[in-house]
């Protein structure tokens, strides 16, 4: 998890929840319980959260506060989940969202 800040000159070592496993498109990843799904994905180097409905363009984190809704993904089968404000839970199934589905466009 190279993208985590280990120690911050002002904030020190930030407290984290317990380490949990979740899946991203079926692949097992680790994150901290309670942190936003988006933070866990970012820490694992995941940039693309979804591809848009019309143009099939990639999108990721944009506002990080739940306002812009660009970072939505299919979480536990539910589409359009704002990953930047949804806490990570052990065993979560997080999938790239294609349009409003977890199925890639060619399979839709």
């Amino acid at each position: 998890m190279s993208e985590r800040i280990k120690e911050h000159p002002i904030l020190g070592v930030q407290e984290k929840g317990k380490s949990v496993k979740f899946t991203f498109d079926g692949k097992e990843l680790e994150g901290y319980e309670g942190e936003p799904i988006a933070a866990a994905l970012k820490a694992n180097g995941v940039m693309v959260h979804r591809y848009t409905r019309k143009e099939h363009k990639p999108r990721g984190i944009f506002c990080a506060i739940g306002r812009c809704t660009d970072c939505v993904m299919v979480v536990n089968g539910v589409p359009n989940v704002r990953t930047c404000i949804t806490p990570l839970v052990e065993g979560m199934e997080v999938c790239t969202q294609y349009g409003v589905s977890a199925k890639p466009f060619e399979e839709q």
């Binding site: 944009f62 306002r67 812009c68 660009d70």
Partner: protein, 112 residues
């Protein structure tokens, strides 16, 4: 509000621009060119633009693009952006699951 607006006023012809394919509404994937064309089709208020094109009608409800759309429409109409009234704000401020919206807490007496 309710100022006389003659939709026959000449705003000149639609002239294609080099950045017409710039995406403006990120949720509904509406471009600058589509917005500009809609103005020339008579959509002169932000409410009309929104209803006609769906700008700001997606998941975020215009939280990101409304200011951008306003600027484009104002420019096309040759007016100041502050003359354009933003589209109505509606409940809910954030997307809310039907089952949650449906689940109203029982009335309690004042207090805790």
């Amino acid at each position: 509000m309710n100022s006389v607006n003659d939709r026959s006023r000449d705003i000149g012809p639609f002239v294609p621009g080099p950045d017409d394919d710039m995406l403006i509404c990120r949720c509904e994937e509406i471009t600058k060119g589509e917005i500009r064309k809609a103005v020339h089709d008579g959509m002169w208020t932000l409410t009309e633009i929104r209803r006609y094109l769906r700008t700001g009608m997606g998941l975020c409800q215009g939280q990101t693009c409304s200011r951008l759309v306003k600027g484009i429409v104002a420019k096309e109409l040759g007016i100041s952006p502050s003359e354009l009234e933003p589209a109505a704000s509606r409940v809910p401020m954030r997307p809310i699951e039907m089952e949650v919206f449906a689940n109203e807490a029982p009335d309690e007496k004042e207090g805790e």
